[in-house]
Symmetry: D2
Subunit: 350 residues, 4 copies
């Protein structure tokens, strides 16, 4: 199969760089248009971009000339790594003229006819695209990936909700600085420090899981009925979000059943065959002190989340720790995974 030509909106930012890195050798997609703000447009990508990843910039893209963010990119699929404040109208315009937009931005996540999507969690929610296309009056549409903290939480919650029915979820996050983009946090604010606040993050973490685990019916998604309480912190590490989670269920399983449900989760078999799907979406660690950001964030190319310390909780039923890579599964990797699902389901033509 020929690789599908794709564009990246916001290609020079931190998430945009991850898109570039992951798409450079992707079996289905080929990045042909790197678009960024007018300040960067016209320069070689290698010159326009302050590359922040620890692996070198892929050779194939260094000489691409950065394009302005205009509705004339030579492709039908674009990935959006735009900052939240501009993503809303720009993505809307691209969808309006027929592009499929796979976005990592928050702007449209909670729109009723926009799928908020994790392939293993709610692949059926793509059905919302029909309604959206009717609104746009064309083939274009927007699909969104969740907030980085939400993604790994929702993946862990999915098999638990399916098996035991969630009632209450309490989550405290310890998030890496790469989640704040670039320049993001000043070093003087976070070296040897913990910042117990991330603007807007707790709201996302309390709301997005309800849509992700919601039920599709009559062309709309009904939110799941449990309650989430979130507290979000920034810690001085580069990549990988750690979350301490406590949950209460309708049907009170024992700890062994919870571990088994997590360990055995694989998602629909068609999803499991997508190029970015890890062999196991959830890795359950047995060690007393895992998962750890420095050791587990790259599991399965950063597309698996790791869960550990599953144990009884004296307040709710069970507590555990979830670790995921915030810029791989939690951002660019998640959006690319969504695009793969859309191709597989036929929403995007090969």
């Amino acid at each position: 199969m020929n690789r599908i030509p794709v564009g990246i909106l916001g290609a020079t930012g931190t998430v945009g760089q991850r898109f570039v890195q992951l798409l450079a050798d992707h079996p289905w997609f080929k990045p042909i248009a790197l678009a960024a703000s007018d300040r960067s447009a016209g320069q070689r990508y290698a010159d326009a971009c302050h590359w922040l990843l620890s692996e070198p910039m892929p050779e194939a893209v260094t000489a691409l000339v950065v394009r302005p963010i205009k509705l004339s990119l030579d492709c039908h699929l674009v990935f959006s790594a735009l900052p939240s404040d501009v993503a809303g109208p720009v993505e809307e315009s691209f969808a309006g003229v027929g592009y499929a937009v796979c976005s990592n931005a928050a702007a449209h996540r909670m729109d009723p006819d926009v799928p908020l999507l994790i392939p293993e969690v709610n692949p059926d929610h793509t059905e919302l695209i029909d309604a959206q296309r009717r609104r746009h009056g064309g083939e274009g549409f927007i699909v969104t990936s969740a907030n980085c903290s939400t993604t790994q939480l929702a993946m862990a919650l999915k098999p638990l909700h399916d098996s035991f029915g969630l009632r209450q979820v309490s989550v405290v996050t310890m998030q890496a600085v790469s989640g704040a983009g670039y320049p993001g946090l000043p070093a003087m604010d976070i070296l040897d420090n913990v910042i117990p606040f991330i603007p807007g993050e707790e709201d996302k973490l309390e709301q997005e899981p309800l849509k992700l685990l919601g039920t599709l019916g009559d062309g709309r998604v009904t939110d799941a009925a449990f309650v989430v309480s979130a507290q979000c912190n920034r810690v001085p590490i580069r990549d990988g979000h750690t979350e301490c989670v406590s949950v209460e269920f309708e049907h009170q399983p024992d700890v062994g059943a919870v571990k088994a449900a997590l360990r055995e989760f694989i998602g629909p078999s068609r999803v499991a065959r997508l190029p970015s799907s890890p062999a196991r979406p959830i890795l359950v660690r047995r060690e007393a002190d895992r998962p750890q950001a420095a050791r587990d964030r790259h599991a399965q190319e950063g597309m698996s989340i790791s869960v550990g310390r599953v144990r009884p909780c004296s307040l709710l039923d069970v507590k555990f720790v979830v670790l995921g890579h915030n810029t791989l599964r939690g951002a660019a990797g998640g959006s690319i995974h969504n695009a793969e699902l859309l191709v597989d389901q036929g929403w995007i033509a090969r």
Copy 2:
């Protein structure tokens, strides 16, 4: 008043060094015996001790010869910074021959006739000393300070329990590496990492607050009746523990009442006049992103805790963030504070 001569058991370790630093210029106590393991005994303190604090070693102690840990120190009061595995019997022996022992170790914290003490929280619990003296058959006794994570949590909970009655407490900690002593954590384990496990810590944090906020009656302490669930993490910072706390009350106060109770807490007036007592035990921060370890840990010489982000919780009633200095208020400073209380109450003779 002449300064009371005191000894320090385990004077060369990290907590021992804090004792040395804080006692060097203390108005009531004068460190005259620095005791440590046989490996160090006989050397000058400056030679025996791998000094770890960012302020230089006090001049007055550099030339003191380190003593072995024997029952022949020329003082009646000793501070114990012994490691947990040896503290138990050693402290018992010292108390058995008449020393007052102010310990920072965990060994005797939960003994029924040993006060687990924070001056502003439960100064009346010193009454347990009577029973203990009867057991020892002499003037000696042991008083303990709480685990570092417990101390700052219990201080924040005290005015809330008094005013509104605690039912449930959920706490997730982000703890500094100095809490693990020296050598403690290998750099390769914690640089750019979060470790979601600290051996024994969650048990302490779930049990000690119940004794600290318990009720004295008939010469014994009845544990407070609320439940605590704790999850403990190590993060790559040097000093200062951050805790995300959610609480449920018997009498559901609004957020304003909770803030007021925290802000107005001062403890008994006699306690407030002790040399190590801060003007305010609890500082309530109004900023959206405080308290922070790097900015608030030294508040009031590290003897105040800082609370911030007091807000409603979607699961329990209220949630907030607590920050304290783990080796000042949470360790050596707390034990010295206890000793001041004991002098003030007459348990230790001036």
Copy 3:
């Protein structure tokens, strides 16, 4: 003696905050005017300032209203913590209307009639003020403190140049992020990283020591005749610059003589009695692995530098390590020290 009222220009930045902190309880100076950009002017200092130091903001200044940077501050002495790009003309204006300006900025350091001053190193260079006053046509003048990296290097070189005559100096620095101000370096640039470049820094380090150790004669300073080669790096620590230095002398001393010259250096006795003068400007460490930023930067309130590892060099004559606190001795503390010298010498009236 009544405290002399002083102003601080650029009072809300990182260096400005250090000025505020150090002057709050200064025995000779009293901060009465905190001036900053128009964005901050009019607000309470506590509101205008994003306080970055680990010790809390001094109570005395929290309620001061920030003043605009205008030539109407009610004092005769101002400290300048202005950013380099605006410091030049602003300081000139203040001097032009009669203020004594003690500046930490680079703008005027190399002006021929402006003293570049470290009290223990070249207190006689204040004589340049006469020429400067003639130029300004009034009582006003500017005195500058050196770059942070230069200050600690020049202090270590001073006794060596006096005793043995410097020919060549090679220095490689490892500098803390606080030296870059705020916001300064993005965390993503420096966490788990070394940046081998600091704009403009190497030039300063190669030139300023020559003026500092230069000879005053006929109302001007003749640069010292040695050569410096500098390489500057940023490392992920908050405070304290470490410098690896190699030197070649005219008269080749043995290592013992070099250590003795460093250890015995005290500067002129009048200087030694200034309030900010440490008992010893240079502390010589004997341990194999010192000085260290985390352990030695606060020596003598951060006003002493620490030197260690003095040993033979296979290329030049001797090599050693120098450590100093970049925002105390190396910035605000140094400028205040200069002002003390000016008062003591009568250039500023009590």
Copy 4:
């Protein structure tokens, strides 16, 4: 070609883990014997090993049973990641009974008949093996890779010495904590700190380059005739050593010629075809602030070094910055590269 079975001595340590990781999928070698101390022997590798790398342990080795370090491993080639204090006699025994030993330990590096080897730098030095075999009386021999700091320095110096003749080299290192092994440095020693001393490191860095760039003749190596002065520092980063280097040449090239010599260096063409050889051993960066550990250490799978900031020096002729990955090219990767050379040259049979 069938993969050659190999053993790893010290397979559970930090360098041993890198050997395991790099050999798991190596095209020429297959790890079949993981040997470690008696404490680990007999356990599954996954259980015996506290895995420290950020990529997961290769599946293929998890179930291998750790062998004791005995002369009965079923292979003819062993890699040694033994700690320095035990490597000496153990490696000697293995060579004595016929094993080819590719060692990363320091013990035998300076032995006259043991090659200290970097394939691109001195591939002809393997001729020393003849003499060594005569001494051992069999087919066995030891070949060593250089100290991590030396490796990257010697690679940068090689083309410069060949083209312009080195006279003097001054180097200051900023080394990552992974170089100290595990547990290595306590976090309390290096978080927010620089330690200006690494035991034994400066001697290695002053001596090993002379052997590496030495001349083979009459079956022995004559050291190169230049002088190195080294100062070594530990900084709080995980991987990647940064070195600030100044050099003086016999023939004074201009900066452009130095850059060209570095950029064009490729080593012998047979070496360039080895599996671990990077396309370019030396990458010359043009950016003002590169190379950087976080961004350049993984260049070419961590087997290229990066050089930047090549510029004139006011003392010697030219100065520049060198960056390399200390546990890839600088340790395990270097030893494997050496083994590839030995296979290619026929010293080890396929």
